[in-house]
């Protein structure tokens, strides 16, 4: 280690480390509680004092994915022994599974709309960012600011006309409608972020390619795109996280076919109120992809959340 007058002392580091770990422990508690609740029985979930040690069960997950109904003793006897492990969980409560719940559908919708809009906003964002970065676009600064300002609009404020417009065009409650909408919302992020990444690729590479007889298009996809790959990947993840977590538009503009998981999870009801283990199970499954991406994304995190206004 090189000598430096500004290097913090060992004691300072210890103190800083202690405080940060303390904060991290406190902050992770609600999250850990969500995950733990997903593996509790409904009665363990609402036990007081709160149960830290409990027998883990998959009841919450079974309830999340199935619709159940109470069955009479005769019916249960007729059915005989439960055929599967999830049947036996439900039988404990004198219930039988009558079909799947809508969580699977909603999750699938999240995937379709999330990935669809991510692909589209990254594709459009990349080519627009390339143009903004390399060419003299008239009113460039104004256009860039205009793109950014679209992010200031509260979703609730534009939902009415979008609702009217979509109804007119038959896009209400459709996957395509939601994909286009999320694409529009994400474009501000994607253009700003990607412009920053492309700005950093030296223009000389393309010039060399052009001199070798490449067209602009060829120079773009054979030279610039590979260089921008990491930037494109991290932009994509940010767009995906937004579309994945979005709630306001989803709840205002969709009701059935195209509704994603965030408006659905809070509506999971059990006996006498919310079925907390099932809600927690739904939330846990829903956060897994985001948590994985967050860990993969550590290095690019900062740029993404600030539209690239801050360089790390």
């Amino acid at each position: 280690m090189s000598f430096s007058v500004t290097e913090p002392s060992g004691r300072q580091k210890l103190f800083a480390g202690f405080l940060v770990i303390f904060y991290a422990a406190v902050t992770i508690m609600p999250l850990a509680w969500i995950i733990a609740t997903g593996f509790k029985t409904p009665s363990d979930a609402i036990a007081y004092p709160p149960k830290v040690v409990f027998d883990p069960t998959l009841e919450g997950y079974v309830n999340l994915f199935t619709t159940r109904t109470r069955a009479s003793t005769e019916t249960l006897e007729q059915l005989g022994e439960p055929q599967t492990w999830y049947d036996s969980i439900v039988r404990k409560y004198d219930m039988v599974i009558v079909g799947p719940s809508r969580y699977g559908e909603r999750f699938l919708n999240s995937i379709i709309i999330g990935f669809g809009s991510t692909f589209l906003s990254v594709f459009l964002g990349t080519i627009a960012a390339y143009a903004f970065s390399r060419f003299k676009v008239p009113l460039k600064d104004d256009l860039m600011f205009f793109i950014l300002s679209t992010r200031m609009m509260p979703p609730v404020a534009v939902a009415i006309p979008i609702f009217l417009m979509y109804r007119h065009m038959g896009l209400n409650d459709t996957h395509l409608g939601m994909i286009l909408l999320y694409t529009a919302v994400n474009l501000s992020l994607s253009v700003w972020l990607l412009k920053g990444f492309i700005d950093e690729i030296p223009v000389e590479y393309e010039e060399a390619a052009l001199i070798d007889g490449y067209t602009r298009f060829q120079a773009f996809y054979k030279v610039v795109l590979p260089q921008a790959a990491t930037g494109i990947a991290s932009t994509a993840i940010f767009c995906l996280i937004f579309a994945w977590n979005e709630y306001a538009f989803a709840v205002l503009l969709t009701s059935g076919t195209a509704q994603t998981a965030p408006p659905f999870i809070p509506t999971i009801i059990g006996v006498g109120g919310q079925d907390w283990p099932a809600v927690a199970a739904g939330a846990t499954l829903f956060l897994v992809p985001v948590m994985v991406f967050t860990i993969l994304l550590r290095k690019h995190l900062l740029r993404g959340i600030t539209f690239g206004a801050v360089r790390k």
């Binding site: 800083a16 006309p161 408006p263």
Partner: protein
């Protein structure tokens, strides 16, 4: 052998022109690349915004599509600006924005300052701290109603455990005096990492040589902190405040799931109130005027703030 007139032209044309015809001019490429983005934003952002402005001068109701909308002039705007309930929601919003920014800046900066000491494992703990902000606000809000339950919730239990008070005696989201703080706590929990990350970038952008020079001048650590660290981080901090301010001004999902605006209307922020007017009472014209006021407020405040921010940056 004779050559056709077309071939003769081609031969006489300079290479660069041939290349442009084969490719496309830069100008054309620029247009083709930018046009879809602009078109989509015009269709899904600007067109609806203009429509909202138009609706704001009418008494249109979405749930009665057959009734002809009447032009009512500025009546909707007058009603909003004189409505005491709406002023109440504006105050609730201002309270929410102010206190979340205060807490997030204080805690976020402190954390960034500590993490910048680069102790062992600091990257790992930073990733842990950042997780809450990656979650879906609506799902988070919903789950916090569970944590806040007076009889069974983890939050009351921990408070009771630490203070020795009876934890079932109060409900964070059920009492008028506490509910505004309940939403501030959850928002702070969720978004402090955001402020922390930006402050961290600010701290890391300060060249070490400045501190070395200060050290040579025998400036105290305290003095260094106030004359070097704070001014250098300030632009970053202000940027964080801008982003958090805009986001919380239009806050909807987290709070709607957490308290739904209640109890009474203590946590009824403007977006929640607006949603009620637009999608429950179906006062489309009125709600549109409301939306316009909200957007103009955010846009106006943000523009003034950005000017101030640029001045700080230039210093």
């Amino acid at each position: 052998m004779s050559i056709s007139p077309i071939e003769r032209v081609a031969e006489a044309t300079p290479r660069s022109v041939v290349r442009r015809v084969k490719g496309l001019s830069d100008r054309a490429v620029a247009w083709i690349f930018v046009a879809p983005t602009i078109a989509l934003l015009l269709a899904i952002n600007i067109f609806p915004l203009i429509w909202t402005v138009w609706l704001s001068f009418t008494n249109f109701r979405v749930n009665r599509p057959n009734r002809e909308a009447e032009f009512v002039g500025s009546r909707n705007y007058e009603r909003i600006l004189t409505d005491s309930d709406i002023w109440g929601t504006m105050q609730a919003t201002a309270h929410f924005v102010f206190w979340t920014i205060v807490f997030q800046v204080l805690i976020g900066f402190t954390l960034a300052y500590l993490i910048n000491k680069k102790f062992r494992g600091s990257d790992l703990w930073t990733t842990v701290i950042v997780l809450p902000m990656m979650l879906s606000p609506a799902v988070v809000g919903n789950f916090w109603t569970f944590l806040y339950q007076p009889q069974i919730g983890l939050f009351n239990y921990v408070i009771g455990f630490l203070t020795g008070a009876d934890p079932s005696g109060f409900s964070m989201i059920g009492e008028v005096a506490l509910a505004p703080w309940a939403i501030v706590i959850v928002d702070t929990w969720m978004w402090t990492p955001f402020v922390m990350l930006i402050c961290l970038a600010g701290l890391r952008s300060i060249p070490e040589s400045i501190y070395e020079a200060a050290e040579c001048d025998r400036a105290s650590k305290w003095r260094q902190f106030w004359t070097i660290t704070i001014p250098m981080v300030l632009p970053f901090l202000m940027l964080a405040v801008l982003f958090r301010g805009i986001e919380n001004f239009k806050m909807f999902d987290l709070v709607v799931q957490l308290t739904g605006g209640g109890p009474g209307s203590t946590t009824e922020l403007t977006s929640i109130n607006l949603k009620r007017e637009a999608f429950e009472k179906w006062n489309t014209g009125f709600a549109s005027a409301y939306a316009v006021i909200l957007f103009v407020t955010i846009f106006g405040l943000a523009s003034i703030y950005v000017k101030a921010l640029n001045k700080v940056k230039e210093r």
